[in-house]
Every structure is written in C-alpha cells, then in structure tokens.
Symmetry: C2
Subunit: 436 residues, 2 copies
C-alpha cells in the first residue's frame, strides 16, 4: 500500500507517523510545500516570551525524526493538481512538475489567513512568521521598531499583543467584533484581562475592520471604517480559511470552501481523506459540523484517519473547541459553547459562576463559568480565568462534555485532594454544585 500525505504540519505529520506504526510495510510519502518541516507557527510568541532561546528550537518534529520512521519526506513540493481517476497527484519541486501515484491519499494542506485579499498586505512592515525565515525577519522588525498595530483580537492577536507589551512596545489592537477572543469567551469573564491590557497601554478599537493598508515613510497606516491608525509595523491575525487551490472540483466541499468529509474523515472520492484545517469537523455539542482551526483537532484527526484508510473503523468524535493560553498574566481556558452563542441553541441554557481560591494556601482566585442545558442537565461549555495555571482543568470539563456529563454528576465527580495544591472541593465540582 502506498500512502501519500499532502501537507507536513501537525495533521499531516501525525498521520504519517501514526500510519507507520499501523502499517509497518506501507510506502509512506509526505509532501511539504516549505523547505523545512515541523516549524511551530507561533514560534515568534515563544521566543518573545523567553519560552525558547532560539527559533531553531521551535520545531515539534525534525526531518531526521520523520526519516527515522521510514517516511519518504519530499520538501519544497507544492501540489498543483489531482487526477482522481488514475489516483495520481502532481506537485512542483524545483520548478519541475512531478507525478506521484497513491493507493490512499490524505489531504492536510492547512489554511491561509483571510487577510490575503486586503490591498497592501504584502508590505514588509507587516510581520509574517509561519516559516522560520519569516519569523527571523519578524523578530528583527520587533527589535527595530516601537509601535505596532495588531489586526484581529483572537488567540493569536491577543498573545502577540502580550508578547509585544512585554518587550515594552506600544500596541494598538483592531478587532471587527465587540471584544477579544469572542469565539471562546463571554466578555464578562475577561473583564480583568481587558482591564490589564488597558493598564499596560494597549489601545483597542472594537467593531472596526481594516479596509486598506498604506505604507508611508517607515510607517503603515491602516484605514478602518472609522479612522486611520498609524504605527511602524502591523501584525495580521485574522481568521483562516482552507488552502486548497489544487483541489479537484469533483471533491465535495462545504460553502466555506472546506472539504466535506464523512464521520471517518473520508472525502466524497474513494481513497481520498482529509484532515486538519482543510475540513469541517463534528461539534461535540450538536449534530452539526463546523470549521475550527486548532492544532489539537489536527493531531487527533491525524491519529483517527489512519484507522480508516483500509476500511471505515473509527468515527472521529470532533471537537469541543478546547483552548488554553496565558495572556497578560492571566491563564484563560475555554471549552464548548459560550453564552453569547447559546442564542443559536434551541433549548434553554442555564449558567453558573464560581470564584474560589486556587488552593488552600494560594489565595490567587479562579473564576469559572459553566453552561448547561436546563432540561437535560448536560454541560455545554466552561470558561476559566486565573493568575494560577488552571489550564489542565479545561481538559476535565472538555471530557465531561464529550461524555455527556450532567451538572449533578459534575458536582460529585472524584478528584485528588492535597492541601498543598488543591482546594478542599475542586472548582470544577463547585461549578456543578452551583446549579439552579
């Protein structure tokens, strides 16, 4: 069996490594557009926050490790077209178009930012950092300049704002919605974070969209629907969309351009599968699928798809959209539905809030919020904010959502207690207890 995987980011690499374990004798080919593989897209954040010392460290896997798995890695290989009838794909490598046949094909070409359409986006004063070369250039721009405008108040945008403020830069933030991280958090939960951003000098412009980018004398001027915003550099951290210019038009897609896959991650065409930021995946909260670009979804789909290459075997459970990060000294984490989006939910929702100390002798508080279905009692979403590292707690609640736990079951679930690291009654249980 010859398995060809297109795209060497988290999804593709995971599928390749998992396939090697499951099919020791298969020929496995991994095609990657860039010259290197395994670079972590948020490496610039890691180095600015001193999590790593050099960009060279910012790889989740190395070429050598991939080749140790006896995976045939072809770098600088950009897929150009597909011949689904003869099971052949064509890719450009060193300006030559080459063909490769497959028995099983896994598409994992990821996403691109929606910003690519804005006029002026190619300015060298706009930081781009998905590859190591670009990240090095971006790092130089950070070192040489003092004023930055970030476009997009999602996870990437707010993390970048935090990184730049730590470097004593002056930061402005433009967001088209009425707050930050709106997909994951109800804004009242982020009140202390928003205040801290303001105190640290971040100027936020909400409900504004960038329409034009001009570069004038070492400055970029961003024109929004309301004003012109000037700074030395800008960062675009907008939402992303599937990157599929090569896709055969007979492969069924969703309206947003993502590939339609069945519950086994198979496309509408025999022997072709898709994972990662190319596809919509099932929501843990409804029978719908949705587009949500998260590394953990990519990795988990990369694991599951391998089970289904020969015959449908393992249903992909999809995502509760679980995230966790630390910005402006606050650990924040979210899973499932927010109250803001619950208006799209047919049934009645209840919410509970809890604020308690993170452990018996650590008075740093944890604030938590829980959403549940008032009728079925099943939990639908949770959010945390704390100066203590509570990130792991979101994984427990995410599993609770996946397994259909009720608010009453949550209140009395088991947990470890130790007076040095935990409160007497865990905050996740407390959220369940506060039910109406």
């Amino acid at each position: 069996m010859k398995i060809v995987i297109v795209g060497g980011s988290f999804a593709g690499v995971t599928a390749a490594v998992t396939a090697r374990k499951k099919f020791p004798k298969a020929e496995i080919v991994l095609l990657e557009k860039k010259n290197t593989i395994g670079f972590i897209p948020s490496a610039l954040h890691l180095i600015l926050n001193s999590e790593i010392e050099s960009l060279q460290q910012a790889y989740f896997i190395s070429e050598a490790e991939i080749e140790e798995h006896n995976i045939h890695l072809i770098l600088a290989a950009e897929v150009k077209k597909m011949d689904i009838k003869n099971q052949i794909i064509s890719y450009e490598n060193q300006n030559i178009l080459k063909n490769i046949a497959y028995d099983k094909l896994i598409l994992a070409t990821g996403s691109t930012q929606n910003s690519y359409r804005i006029k002026g986006i190619d300015s060298e004063r706009i930081l781009k950092y998905k590859s190591i070369e670009k990240a090095q250039e971006a790092l130089a721009l950070v070192n040489e300049n003092q004023t930055f405008t970030i476009v997009g108040g999602g996870q990437v945008g707010v993390e970048m704002a935090d990184c730049l403020v730590r470097q004593n830069k002056k930061v402005q933030l433009i967001e088209s919605m009425s707050g930050i991280l709106v997909k994951y958090f109800d804004q009242e939960m982020l009140a202390p974070l928003l205040l801290e951003m303001k105190n640290k000098g971040v100027i936020s412009y909400f409900n504004e969209t960038v329409q034009e980018i001009k570069e004038i004398e070492n400055r970029v001027i961003l024109t929004t629907n309301n004003r012109e915003i000037e700074s030395e550099c800008a960062v675009f951290a907008l939402s992303v969309k599937p990157n599929l210019p090569y896709l055969d038009p007979t492969i069924r897609c969703h309206e947003d351009g993502s590939i339609f896959v069945d519950e086994y991650l198979k496309t509408s065409v025999e022997n072709i599968f898709a994972i990662g930021d190319c596809i919509q995946i099932p929501s843990s909260l409804s029978s719908e699928t949705f587009y949500v670009s998260l590394t953990n979804n990519a990795v988990r789909a990369g694991v599951v798809v391998v089970d289904n290459l020969v015959e449908p075997q393992t249903v992909f459970i999809g995502s509760a959209r679980t995230i966790g990060t630390k910005v402006f000294d606050y650990f924040i984490a979210s899973t499932g539905m927010t109250e803001a989006e619950s208006i799209f939910f047919d049934e009645e929702i209840s919410t509970t809030y809890v604020t308690q100390s993170s452990s018996l002798f650590n008075e740093e508080s944890i604030k938590g919020k829980l959403l549940y279905n008032k009728e079925t009692r099943k939990i639908l979403g949770a959010q945390f904010i704390s100066k203590s590292n509570i990130l792991e707690k979101i994984n427990t609640l995410s599993l609770g959502i996946q397994m259909g736990i009720t608010v009453e079951e949550l209140a009395q679930k088991d947990y470890y207690f130790h007076p040095a690291w935990s409160p007497v009654y865990d905050v996740t249980n407390q959220l369940g207890l506060m039910k109406d």
Copy 2:
C-alpha cells in the same frame, strides 16, 4: 427542621455548610470533640515543606466562618450515646453529659489509626499530630532529634519520610506490604521514586510488622517480626478504621466496623445518615462498596447527603480512589484499579504504558500507565509519575472512569494545546492510543 451533625472534620463541616445553603431556616448544630475546628491533619507536613509558615495557618475553615453561616458549633463535645427511638444523642461537654434532640442526624466522626492497640503506642517519642497542640509537640520533636522511624508506607508515611529527609533527618521506614503506596501504585511505576528514597538515605524494611514498642533512654525500639529498629522518635502512619464507640448497636454495620449506608448515604435507621471515614462507599469500578479514607470522598459525601435528608434524591457515586501528591521531588497520582489488585477482577485486563515529555519544551518526562477491560474496552485505572506537576491529569482520567470511557474514546478526546505548556498530543490521549 433540626439537623445535628456529629464530627467537625471535612465531611461534617461540608455537610453543615451545604445544609445551610439548602435549608436557610433549619437549625443546624455541629458537634466537635476537639477544642478547635478545621485543623488540617497533615499540617505538620505542610510546615516542614514550607507550604505554610505557622501551624496557625493550617485550617481549612475557621470557627468564625462556621458561625457566619449561622451554624451552632459546639466544641469539646464528645458524643457518648444515642437514643434512636426518641431521636436524642448525648454528648459530654466540660464533664457534663448533655442531650440534644434531632430531626436529622449526620454521623461524621471519622477514623482512628489501627496502631492504637500496639503496646507502648502512647510514648511521647511517637509523633502524633492530628490536633494543633499535638502538631506543635511533634514539631518540637522533629527539631530536637535526628533519627526517625516511620511505620507505614502509605501516603502519610511516605510524605512524612520526605519531610524529614528535607530536614536532613535520618529515616527508616517499616511497611507490612512489599512496597510503598501499594493501594494506589504498581511498584514498577514507582521505581525512580524508590531509588530516590534510597539515595536520600531512607532505609526501608518491607514485609515487616511492628509488634512492640519500647522506650529506653531517649530512644524508641520497635520490634518487628525480623529485628529491632532503634531511633530517637517514631511516627505511626498505619491504616485507619471507623471511630464509632458511641454507635447504637441496632445501626447496621459492615464486618470492618464501618456503618452500612444505602446509595443515599442513609443508615439502616430512619433519619440517621453517615458520611466520611465512618462508612463504606461505592466503588466506581464494581457494584461493591469499600472502605477508603480520603478527604475528597468525605467532602463529596458531605455535599450529597444534604440532598437526601428530607427525601432520597441524589445517589452518591462513590469513589475511584483518586489521589495525588509530591514525594521526593516526584509528583505521583493514581485513580482506579492497580494491576496488582486486578487479579481480584473477574474479567481480563490490558495495560498500556507511555513515557513522554511533559511539554514541547520541557523534557522532564511523564510516565503513565493505563488499565482497561480487554473485553468492554472501558478504562479501569491510571497512574502517573513525573518531576513536572501532572496532578490535574488524574482528575481527567478519574472522570473518564466515572463516565465509562473506552480506551478508543480516550485516544481521541479533546484537550487544549499550547506549545508553552503541553505536548502536541496529550499524555492521557497517548495512553489510549497505545491500546492493543
């Protein structure tokens, strides 16, 4: 309604505070044998490990906080007998026997160590520290002496060994089983911890039982089945049993002396409930009940019992026996069944092991072990050891056991990913993936 709660440790206090919320108009009386309330039994460990600065801090709740809840607290009140027909209990307070009537009675008088029968146990060279006065005396003994023998290699014993080694004391450990923490860990998982204990100078005597205690010239000599072990002081950290000298004999008990309660935590007598270390509780792994003395069980039962005082309403789910601690620089955590005890389980068990870095840029490894039912695929137990703090991860697996998750579901559960704090694929998922 008049609710009388006997015993003011974790179970009783939780029940009292929860009852106040549910029944704003009830009269609530809390009787506690000691002169103070809320003292944490492991306070001596906390102060020796510098988690707290003074024993005065080692309270999980204060008298004032209890009284703020409008709970009538009576200290130095030792229950002596019960009149179940007339719903009256008698307690001794300042040498006077007093009576108190109840509509609902909750027994939460906890446990005592099984060591109380050993001759010589009252020696002043044996550290006792369940009350603040005793803890102060114990602290003085630690400061004044250099050699200690710990009897019992469970959580308390091993934590105490660690505390004493940190104070540069010379420690010997006697354990009747063939290893440490055997109830919670398979010994191969603790190999690095056992080695570290040895390297730190702890001398362990396994499969030995103390039969006699002698005190000779500022020394205690413990006679086991094999030898005499001498040191300046000793600590007994043996298993515990219910403390119920006052119990009316018509109340049904288990063979081990613990009170029999139904799934609603009600005893065999109308209007009398029992929680905490007095009772056996349901196991998350079978239809059996078992005796397991853990604070989190006490607290959770204290929450649930209140729901059932007026009418049976909430079934207590019992315990997966989840624990987490840090000893000799290793964080260790366990939930559910160990492989050693799986021989008592009727069905075939499979195990998986994983060792991986705790996060992308933290090479400190996590070792994990998972047990699952080979036929039903449901997970039955998990153990972790790491120098990184992985304690919260056990809560996710504990919830998985409670909700009946299969090993395949575990492999693809959702989790947060952040390159600064997590690996690409969570260790708990990895345990599921390693299935056979």
